[in-house]
């Protein structure tokens, strides 16, 4: 209810202030709720059209559309341009920082040779299997501890204690246990994603509306049905928060563990390039990590929007 009201408030606000500079409107919305901002930025043409109508259909509306579309990219594009100019004029040495064009060339070359595809696939598979293993364990523990008092008493305190150990601090121990092979990377990534997923799943289950659970019982739902129809969907918003947080940790852990030792993957690509002072490939590796991280987040967001479409906060 509250969220819906916020929505319509947001719309009203947008319409009411559409005569004034657009940035003000956006600023107001952004402060309130991120999804309002999304809403605003997703259909700028509508707001802009309103603005145009308010001003008696002047072409100012058109101008506003294009500005809203390109303005956010002005700074990054500008930075890349400046970087390119500094590199081309020799103000920045190639050994410190390759030019954007050089990075692009490295990308193209490795893409054609197939090396890049292979390395990305290897790193992606590592990341995903870590997420799958750690995420499943965290999810199952979160559900179990959320619904069962016994399980909670048995394991929650332990997990809360283990959680305080930064998982990357375990690297020396992990190397002693597993060496520097795949197991070490898998273990670290799994461990890293386990806790955010556990905590948020547990928290989500604990916070499912008691009245809804009682309603389910009144209507004779079995435990399984209660889980499927009430508890899991109720915990889902929180689980998604955990998932998106875990994705960040997943990439971070992978980058660190690939930097320590690897004979394939993006980290390997970067390490070998460093030995040969190929700064363009090193920077390319950074860019690819960034793109993969963004991609994972976009996919998670899309999944979230789809799964939580019943929730006014996620409605398009």
């Amino acid at each position: 209810m509250t969220t819906i009201d916020t929505f319509s408030e947001g719309r009203k606000l947008r319409r009411a202030t559409s005569g004034t500079p657009r940035t003000l409107t956006e600023g107001t919305l952004t402060e309130d709720k991120p999804q309002d901002w999304q809403q605003a930025s997703q259909n700028p043409p509508k707001g802009a059209a309103d603005g145009a109508q308010a001003k008696g259909g002047k072409p100012a509306g058109l101008h506003t559309i294009s500005r809203g579309a390109w303005l956010p990219y002005l700074v990054p594009v500008g930075l890349v341009l400046v970087w390119q100019i500094l590199s081309s004029t020799g103000l920045i040495s190639d050994r410190i920082m390759p030019s954007p064009v050089a990075v692009l060339a490295a990308f193209w070359e490795r893409l054609l040779s197939g090396e890049l595809g292979r390395d990305v696939a290897v790193s992606g598979a590592r990341a995903l299997s870590g997420l799958l293993i750690g995420g499943s364990i965290g999810f199952l523990l979160g559900i179990a501890n959320g619904v069962s008092k016994l399980s909670e008493q048995l394991t929650d305190t332990t997990l809360q204690m283990l959680r305080t150990i930064p998982h990357l601090a375990m690297i020396p121990l992990v190397i002693l246990w597993f060496g520097i092979g795949e197991e070490a990377k898998l273990f670290l990534t799994s461990l890293g994603v386990l806790f955010p997923i556990y905590l948020n799943t547990y928290h989500g289950v604990k916070n499912v509306d008691r009245d809804l659970v009682e309603m389910g019982r009144i209507y004779g739902m079995s435990n399984w049905s209660l889980f499927r129809k009430v508890i899991f969907p109720g915990a889902l918003p929180s689980i998604f928060v955990g998932l998106r947080y875990a994705l960040g940790i997943m990439w971070l852990t992978l980058i660190v563990s690939e930097a320590i030792a690897a004979n394939s993957g993006i980290g390997y690509m970067a390490n070998t390039a460093r030995e040969f002072m190929m700064t363009d490939v090193v920077v390319l590796a950074l860019v690819i990590y960034a793109v993969l991280g963004k991609l994972a987040d976009v996919v998670a967001r899309a999944l979230e929007r789809w799964a939580l479409s019943w929730n006014a906060a996620y409605q398009a």
Binding site: M1, D211, L212, E214, M215, Y219, P233, W310
Partner: protein, 285 residues
């Protein structure tokens, strides 16, 4: 029966209320006039309570309640806040066990039958991630074939005049509409008895009047036994055949309301009964 969804100017809505023939929810949905032929009939279940007690530790909330509710009757329970109304309802529908006495469900002839009750709370308690129709289908229980569930949900949604909202998310509905979905969910399995715990308490005055008419109509069409807890004596005398005043965990007054339906808001006899009830609740003799 098709549900019309006229949008009338507000003056006409008021006229409609005045006439008492038909009324409209503030959202524009028409409240059907009370229909004569019952649809979806089902044998109602009466109640027989003997010395029913309920204590929470030292707190004796119900202290020996004796009550006979004939099958099909509409009973309202009123009383001060904290006098045990909700506790009694929870016992009736089996959500809690009494600490003493017996609760039996009976048929027309007074023979014991299996408990067969549903409850509607003040909050609709809908699953926000299920469509309206799927929420109603929850009332049928687990393992019901999909097609059957859908058909039953549609039937009962038509009964509460929400057919056109079957595919909506609950978040898109108004408070009154949500409560009608909760009512549909409670009724979809055709219970012999429906308990209502201040079901209209959270609604605005206009919606409440429309909902009262809807409740009366649904009760007359489906023929279940209704036990309504309310803090509103006007509501009690307008809806019920009989009003019971609970006080300190005992039945203080058991008052028949011998007026035919539909009842009118200006009815002086009802006003008289209201006065009697208020006096009993407030402890004047």
């Amino acid at each position: 029966m098709p549900v019309s969804s006229y949008l009338l100017p507000s003056a006409m809505v008021w006229d409609a209320f005045e006439l008492q023939e038909r009324a409209y929810f503030p959202d524009g949905t028409e409240v059907r006039p009370i229909a004569e032929p019952p649809v979806l009939p089902k044998a109602p279940a009466g109640l027989r309570l003997r010395g029913v007690e309920k204590a929470f530790g030292d707190n004796r909330v119900l202290r020996g309640i004796d009550l006979d509710v004939p099958a099909g009757q509409f009973v309202a329970i009123v009383g001060k806040s904290g006098c045990g109304k909700s506790t009694l309802l929870r016992l009736l529908v089996g959500l809690d066990e009494p600490t003493g006495g017996e609760i039996d469900f009976i048929d027309d002839g007074g023979d014991r039958v299996a408990p067969d009750a549903r409850i509607v709370f003040q909050e609709p308690r809908l699953l926000p991630w299920f469509s309206v129709a799927d929420n109603v289908a929850v009332g049928l229980g687990d393992g019901v074939p999909k097609a059957f569930a859908r058909r039953e949900a549609e039937l009962v949604l038509d009964e509460v005049q929400l057919s056109e909202k079957a595919r909506e998310w609950p978040a898109k509905l108004s408070g009154g509409q949500r409560q009608r979905v909760a009512l549909a969910r409670a009724l979809v399995s055709r219970p012999g008895l429906l308990a209502l715990d201040e079901p209209l308490g959270a609604l605005d005055a206009l919606t409440r009047i429309s909902m009262q008419q809807l409740l009366t109509r649904v009760w007359r069409e489906l023929g279940f036994t209704a036990v309504l807890v309310t803090h509103d004596v006007t509501e009690a005398v307008h809806l019920a055949d009989r009003v019971i005043v609970l006080d300190e965990g005992e039945v203080k007054l058991d008052l028949a309301v011998p007026r035919p339906h539909p009842r009118h808001h200006g009815d002086p006899e009802l006003a008289l009964l209201e006065g009697q009830l208020l006096a009993a609740i407030l402890g004047e003799s």
